[in-house]
Assembly symmetry: D2
Homo-oligomer: 241 residues x 4
């Protein structure tokens, strides 16, 4: 009880999981969520094996009632949420006339609306304490629309607007809101299986290691409040941009 918490919404096998492990190593109780709690077991086991504390929550981040209950439950049962990380992506690619209304909505709901729900709920918890860090994971599509990416870029642009609006409002209240922009492929199982030639770049550090993204998140969190970062890009050395 009363242990400081890092909440990671969207704790997959790459960035989200690595962030949870990084903060757990520093003594934070890692509260990790995915739609199905089952998939979180390997991550929780790994954190515990490393001597850390971890809790898995099956939670649909797009459902307001579930997000409210999640944040309240953690605050009550585990400890104050000191850091919250939103890490749900939904990268799809369709030409504009092939983008169904359902897909357009789903991508926004997952990659943006769920971020709004998390951001708002943790802001409510952090505000009375006058402290806390909220991180929203951005991507190249946060900054630029592109053929085939109307839905994904829309959601990421909107998430960026959320992060910026929250930073301007909550900064003066002591809450640090940041938006790291990941510009490049991340070393995940998905990339390994589907884009083997891309993954081969890993041999020369040409794709992002989730642990290094997590380190950047950690460094943002530990910044003293006179020198806070809101936006920062992370990109492999050989990535064209």
């Amino acid at each position: 009880m009363a242990q400081s918490v890092v909440l990671v919404v969207g704790a997959g096998d790459a960035t989200g999981g690595a962030v949870a492990r990084r903060f757990a190593r520093e003594g934070y109780a890692a509260c990790v969520t995915r739609r199905s709690a089952d998939k979180l077991h390997p991550l929780v086991e790994r954190i515990r094996a490393d001597g850390g504390q971890a809790h898995a929550f099956g939670s649909d981040a797009r459902k307001e009632a579930q997000m409210v209950a999640l944040v309240e439950g953690i605050e009550r049962e585990v400890g104050p949420i000191e850091v919250a990380v939103f890490n749900i992506g939904a990268n799809v690619r369709h030409g504009i006339t092939d983008t169904s209304a359902r897909v357009y909505f789903k991508v926004w709901e997952m990659a943006c609306f769920a971020g709004f729900l998390m951001g708002r709920e943790v802001a409510k918890a952090m505000r009375p304490r006058g402290r806390g860090t909220i991180l929203f994971t951005g991507a190249t599509a946060s900054l630029r629309g592109r053929e085939g990416f109307a839905a994904f870029a829309g959601a990421k642009h909107a998430l960026r607007a959320l992060a910026q609006s929250m930073a301007r409002e909550l900064g003066p209240q002591g809450i640090h809101v940041a938006h790291p922009v990941i510009d490049g492929a991340i070393d995940t199982e998905f990339i390994r299986s589907n884009f083997p030639e891309r993954h081969a770049l890993a041999a020369q550090q040409g794709i992002l290691d989730p642990d290094h993204i997590a380190e950047a998140y950690w460094q943002i969190h530990r910044q003293p409040r006179d020198a806070w970062t809101h936006e920062v890009d992370l990109r492999p050395w050989c990535e064209p941009w």
Copy 2:
């Protein structure tokens, strides 16, 4: 029949209406929409009194089936949609913890999702013809998040991402997609009633005249295809920015 059409989705008493009148003056059949067709009568009357052609459509732009039917119906009954203008706003201001999930969703649904539906449907109609102009009305919040504007800036950022993604995809197919950014108060009944001190600036041309916005839209439409504008700002001379 077979007359070229300008479709204005969100034809209120300010920008949308002025755009419809401007294009009608050039011989386009103005097809104007709002949720309730009744409110469109004064606009339709005015266009007709000026010798133009106008058709009012009551249509909820957020409903896929209605948008599909609207575009199909116009193409079948009135003529080819040469220009489509998306002009629905939804400017609200709430601190982040006072933003309900319902408001956050509604603002996005009106100011962005409806734009996606219109953009996709008119793209389907224009593509086989290899020509057409699609305009999405932007705002300061399209470019910057701000305290109190998480919902509105989110929707406007997403709309901008849509416009940019569509421009990159459809430009090489002969369709001109643009995103004018209106940065300042517009001379509307709403501003007149609610911000009289702001409206007083009209005496010195300090707030935007809808007819001048419409003129800019017209100029964008008539650009030859070797010199197309995608983004342009419009701002009163004395506006701080």
Copy 3:
């Protein structure tokens, strides 16, 4: 005497010349400058043949004394400068370690410092009249640095900062400062000779026609002051961006 003047600094055979012709057609006395006045004769002849008024000035735009004398002389001998257009480019491409200090300086001096001199001098003349338009020609490199373009992008970024600083200062004084961004090849003799395959795109309107750029400049100038544009992009329909 007392005829309104358009001053075009850097009136070559493409954009600058076309702008001078466009404004002359509207009744402005075109005062055009290049380092050597001789090269201006064809332009002056053409404007006069079309019934317009034109004056050629050999002037090194990088020399403060010459710019001061140019502006004073025009104001005294020809008429009030109503519009001033800065159009000197200096596009070179060198890797960073192959960029000599001399080149880096020269590019800035031509593409930026001369613009500062023109902007300042015409601002002095326009300010007491509370009106006028100042246009600085931008390029893709105004917005983005790129391999090989440290010098050119540096000068263009600095020119953009000048335009933006001047717009924010002079707008409230009635002077319209704008920065059109040309993103694509322009149909010039240089492109025709050196990049024939690129120039072949002209057949399908794939490169910018200087007359169409000039038209955009004219439209910016005639905007009423409640709806001024500061930045606008111009790009061929098929240009990748």
Copy 4:
């Protein structure tokens, strides 16, 4: 000999000095420069007192021959330059018509041209080694022009273009180029003396502590090459932006 070097061009009493001390603490030989070497003595003494290694160089960074000699001398006499930091500012504020050509040039020469000379010379040294970090200190004016800041914003925009062009060219060669953007007052003697009410914010961490800026620079340098930052903002929690 052969000790890794951090070169800090513009090592004043604030950011530059703090960066030199931060890297010296990690074992780098700090080579610090100012126009007059005398003013560097307190910094050199302090680094040495802390057990670090430091060398002072009186050098006018705007003079090509001096910069060439500086970099060659350090590489020959002290060790390989592993990190180079450009930190010369020149913040002045004048309305456009009050900006002399001399001031406009001097500000660019100090805040941009000197950065080009440093960047080019260290790139020459680093390139054969396929490694190194180059940091250019940015400011709010790097991103936005503003009334009174035509000269300063021009220089900072140009420096940003340099950083971005170099990053895109040198990244794939193993050299990490970054551009931290400092958005807010820094706790310096200058602010203390001239803006006491602003400096009073230091009591609540409302202005940037140079040591915290230095820490951010250090973190950028130690990033593994699969996750490099090019641009990052640093801003006090209560700074309006």
